[in-house]
Symmetry: C4
Subunit: 373 residues, 4 copies
Amino acid sequence: MPETVEIGLGRSARRGYHLDEIALVPTRRTRGSSVVSTAWQIDAHIFELPLVAAPSDAVVSPATAVEIERLGGLAVLDGEGLWARYEDADAELANLDGSNATLQQVYSAPLVPELLRRRVGELRASGVRVAVRLSPQHTLELAPHVLEAGVDLLVIQGTVISAEHVADGGEPGLNLKTFIADLDVPVLVGGVTNYQTALHLMRTGAAGVIIGYGAHLGSTTHAALGIDVPMATALVDAAAARRDYLDETGGRYVHLVAYGDLATGGDIAKALACGADAVMLGEALASAANSPGAGRYWDATAAHPRVPRSLVVDLAGGVHDRPTLDELIAGPTDDPTGERNLFGAVRRVMGKCGYSSIKEFQKVELIVTGATR
Amino acid sequence: MPETVEIGLGRSARRGYHLDEIALVPTRRTRGSSVVSTAWQIDAHIFELPLVAAPSDAVVSPATAVEIERLGGLAVLDGEGLWARYEDADAELANLDGSNATLQQVYSAPLVPELLRRRVGELRASGVRVAVRLSPQHTLELAPHVLEAGVDLLVIQGTVISAEHVADGGEPGLNLKTFIADLDVPVLVGGVTNYQTALHLMRTGAAGVIIGYGAHLGSTTHAALGIDVPMATALVDAAAARRDYLDETGGRYVHLVAYGDLATGGDIAKALACGADAVMLGEALASAANSPGAGRYWDATAAHPRVPRSLVVDLAGGVHDRPTLDELIAGPTDDPTGERNLFGAVRRVMGKCGYSSIKEFQKVELIVTGATR
Amino acid sequence: MPETVEIGLGRSARRGYHLDEIALVPTRRTRGSSVVSTAWQIDAHIFELPLVAAPSDAVVSPATAVEIERLGGLAVLDGEGLWARYEDADAELANLDGSNATLQQVYSAPLVPELLRRRVGELRASGVRVAVRLSPQHTLELAPHVLEAGVDLLVIQGTVISAEHVADGGEPGLNLKTFIADLDVPVLVGGVTNYQTALHLMRTGAAGVIIGYGAHLGSTTHAALGIDVPMATALVDAAAARRDYLDETGGRYVHLVAYGDLATGGDIAKALACGADAVMLGEALASAANSPGAGRYWDATAAHPRVPRSLVVDLAGGVHDRPTLDELIAGPTDDPTGERNLFGAVRRVMGKCGYSSIKEFQKVELIVTGATR
Amino acid sequence: MPETVEIGLGRSARRGYHLDEIALVPTRRTRGSSVVSTAWQIDAHIFELPLVAAPSDAVVSPATAVEIERLGGLAVLDGEGLWARYEDADAELANLDGSNATLQQVYSAPLVPELLRRRVGELRASGVRVAVRLSPQHTLELAPHVLEAGVDLLVIQGTVISAEHVADGGEPGLNLKTFIADLDVPVLVGGVTNYQTALHLMRTGAAGVIIGYGAHLGSTTHAALGIDVPMATALVDAAAARRDYLDETGGRYVHLVAYGDLATGGDIAKALACGADAVMLGEALASAANSPGAGRYWDATAAHPRVPRSLVVDLAGGVHDRPTLDELIAGPTDDPTGERNLFGAVRRVMGKCGYSSIKEFQKVELIVTGATR
């Protein structure tokens, strides 16, 4: 039975927990890191790491997508980002000045479907598995181009979505149930914040569901909209939906991809512990020396033309020794903040807790902690 | 049954929740912003937005009242403010220096009933619906002037009021029950912090009850008096009083106007979600380029002659690009803090949560959250 | 039944509440400030205000004692402070440099009983009611001098005391039960942190019990000793002891004096609401222009020769407009922080909550609040 | 029954308490400090203080080990630290620059077993009881050298360990059950975070179990790995394991040594109150004028070659008056922060709570406190 509190007379609410309110408790025989596997398989695709690089132009370019695949993860290109709007996206990136106003302006250029097809083709040619993100608003228009160009994995993602949308005009919008059922490629879909929507999206036939909207240091979604996702609770609830859907279908397993509040190896480990099969990382990778955003991070909500909902975060600051993607993702590092060698840390904590696979690790004991010194 | 804790042996207390301890949970079919209505009707008056501009001389002048009406809201002029004390209120505003001492001095000038009548007349002449605020202390003296001059809505408002007051000589003070019953114009009355007083004030025949005392960045009421209003709980409790009063009267619906802790679109959305029909905004509008306070904000408690209970807040600082009222209230904006395009944000979150009117939106699911990163 | 949590397997603990975790809820007919009485009577002594000035050399000198009496409160001179150690205490005060080391040195001078007698005599001569504080360690030695010199109220006070003490050497120390029973003057005794000790001290025949050890901005008792007094809980528990003792004795009423975490009018109001009959203020009065500490505050724990447990706090800083005791205690003020016109604020909140005496005000409704904006 | 909360649907977690969420409640007859004993006996070794100096090269050198023994505590030399890697460890210490990178480099030098034997011999020669720490990874290799050289107490310690380890390669690692059973010297083993592991380690025959991993100001283990130890809960749980093991063995008492979040006398007192028999201090001693780290503090996790998990903390800063070990441990002091005269403070609070030995003090009443001013 979920934990509820009474906010006032006759009105109750769940108590939701953020990842930084919980911690992992090692209770079993410890294991060395080398006898731990962090492998992740979704559909036919096997990855060495449970890592999905977020569809932010600040992180995933055609160039870094190759790097991320080499390091064991999956990179998602934003199908509505600069690479689908400009022939020379790098030139546009160079013109950004860290303000939301400039971002709004640059992202107001029209989407060019032909350009998008070409990007997919180029990625295929470089030998990586190709994943592209489309918003629910543009999926009907753009998906055919992406599919024909040969995408391996389609990501349909908005801040908060539902299986059925009432569009502006009162007409039914994109119906994910029928849309996904007709596709041959696996689909990741989200973001989702609760049990019910997670279950509905699982029923669309999606291969995976994204939990959260990518809350990060610059996010103001809570301030602007009043929506907040206590990630630990959201993941545990979605894992319950996964169990119920497994039962309902007699065995169809839908992957959970955590997206939000993931800055350190510990955050990632806790997300996996709460039921995630993989994590979608944006800000955590944006400080890399070769990131397209040059050390700045932004997501799609930062460029919204009317209600922008995150700041452009400057992660590089005056820092000249920005890390490589290798150091951030796989280490080694001499940085003790927990923000580098993210998956080396995950492997280590899985060993300290005595688990040898992510699926097993989802059973680790959790503890809720209060104020830390 | 309300949630109580035991503070010590034999003494219990409710646990009250502030707006920033809760968040909204989208659980339904999403909707486009254009199929959402934010309209608000009180008595015969229809407004496009559930917006009441607070009776602060820093926000509502005869000039900005017109602007606010144009943008879809209702402006309340302080009937005991500078426009009711000085022929040339603008000159007095120009002399303010940001100190409470100067404020005390400027507000110590006598109230001039004739001036107040004239202001009401000028507002009528400009074609807006005229709302004036009086304190319970001066209502008996000033209300006749305001009413005769043709006010559309009377606001009787102190920090914390009750239906019946024991005045300074032990004599009964203003009896709101008899006073309001005799009026023809609709009355907003408050502030109120709890179920009981809300119910008593509903029984006066008021059209609406104001919940809270306008807590804002500069408020020190908690420090000075020990009184604090956990707004989420106060609104939910008042909504319970509204239900009980609806039942008691066989259908008289009293409006709840939230006043306090409302700085962003998310705050406003949460207040509506907790049961408010509209919000009274002061500080959130004071940074406007054309605000009478020139970017400073203060309310009546800041000018109190013996126990001032809020600081004069300087919202403009060194900032030269102060927003227009249009950008603050209706957008668009390139500011990602959640403090601009307040009602564009509200419309958006109503859509994300799947509701098409404010009354329906009051049923949205809430979650209590802990520490955020 | 008290609220308990389980810290770990087989070990429970109470949850204690600090004053800043609670707030007052006005639920009754409001009253004007002038129909509210803040009078306090202990034994035969009647005071206009429920104010005891703490026995700190930074606050109570023979000169300020007269001021405090004039303003309606009771001043307690530290019988082991500089006025009992030096002929010219003012000269010593002038030599203090804000360090604990200097404090330790100045307070290492021997106590001079004859000087103490003279101070009591001088105070009597100035027409005020004379209260002197002694530590339990020196009470047997110094009390006779103080009593013979004509003290009106004896204050026996250490950080944390008990009714019976096992002295260094294993011998029984001061037995308060027998000591107080034999006295003719009323005694205030403390500090106390819990029900049990409060009840034991009530049984000594004391007129009042002091709750808390005077926690203030500079206090480090929690850091140094691990002891902390959640004042709301401590007062409510002590009020329960008072009720039980009233019943046990068939009507002997023992006063509770709150001492600690009292910086503003709101803090004082909450302490009274939790059951205090009066408050002991130190730091809150130390910023006065004529305070002997010249705007610095320290208490006896700051001068401890081996384990000092509070910093010397500099309240004056670069500030040149230090308030008068009149402004701090009785107002009016133009300072909106809640730290001035302390008892004007108390009177106001009592009226807003609808009570006309402190004893009644102890029944006001409380609410536990979470994080404030 | 332990306190649990539901994080989400179908997943519960304990609520763990940190030391700074609890406080001690004096409820008994008070005692003078001189009638309080802080003595600690483990195996045949008696110490005046319940103090174990942590095996950090920043704190324990062959020279400071002698000082710490003189002051009444036990110093543990890191058997894998600089003194076991370099002939001239002081020269290496002088080259450190406060970065983790330099630390990684200096600690990458090979361990020299012969050097380790010599250090043990020198310590014996200086007349102190010799304790050496080895990591579980190197225990099988290095323990014979240490034992032959004549260690008095062996400390087998990693961040988080278990009684049985699955080593890299899948082979069983060090089996503490069989290893410790065969030893003649008493063994301290840890760190441990929960009841189960504590019980397992008690069953190895260890004389004492270390609770926690030494969390301090520079620790990032929570960030990097997601592991956190709420020390109050961990100690209370381990004390429950101790009781159960006492029962199981008909009387074998295993000591608990708290390690982490111990910066002040109050922290130490609370750890003892929660069931610790002694405390292991690192950072708290590192500011000493004669500390080998020259005022910097680091532990073994700071030098980890792939995933460093703590920063090098600079405790000296620009401060020129660094305290002596005498002042830090036994006082007196004029520093009011609670960070000096640590055990003088412990003695004092034991007296204020009315206990005369540590074992009795473990029964003191605890209170859980919320936000402090």
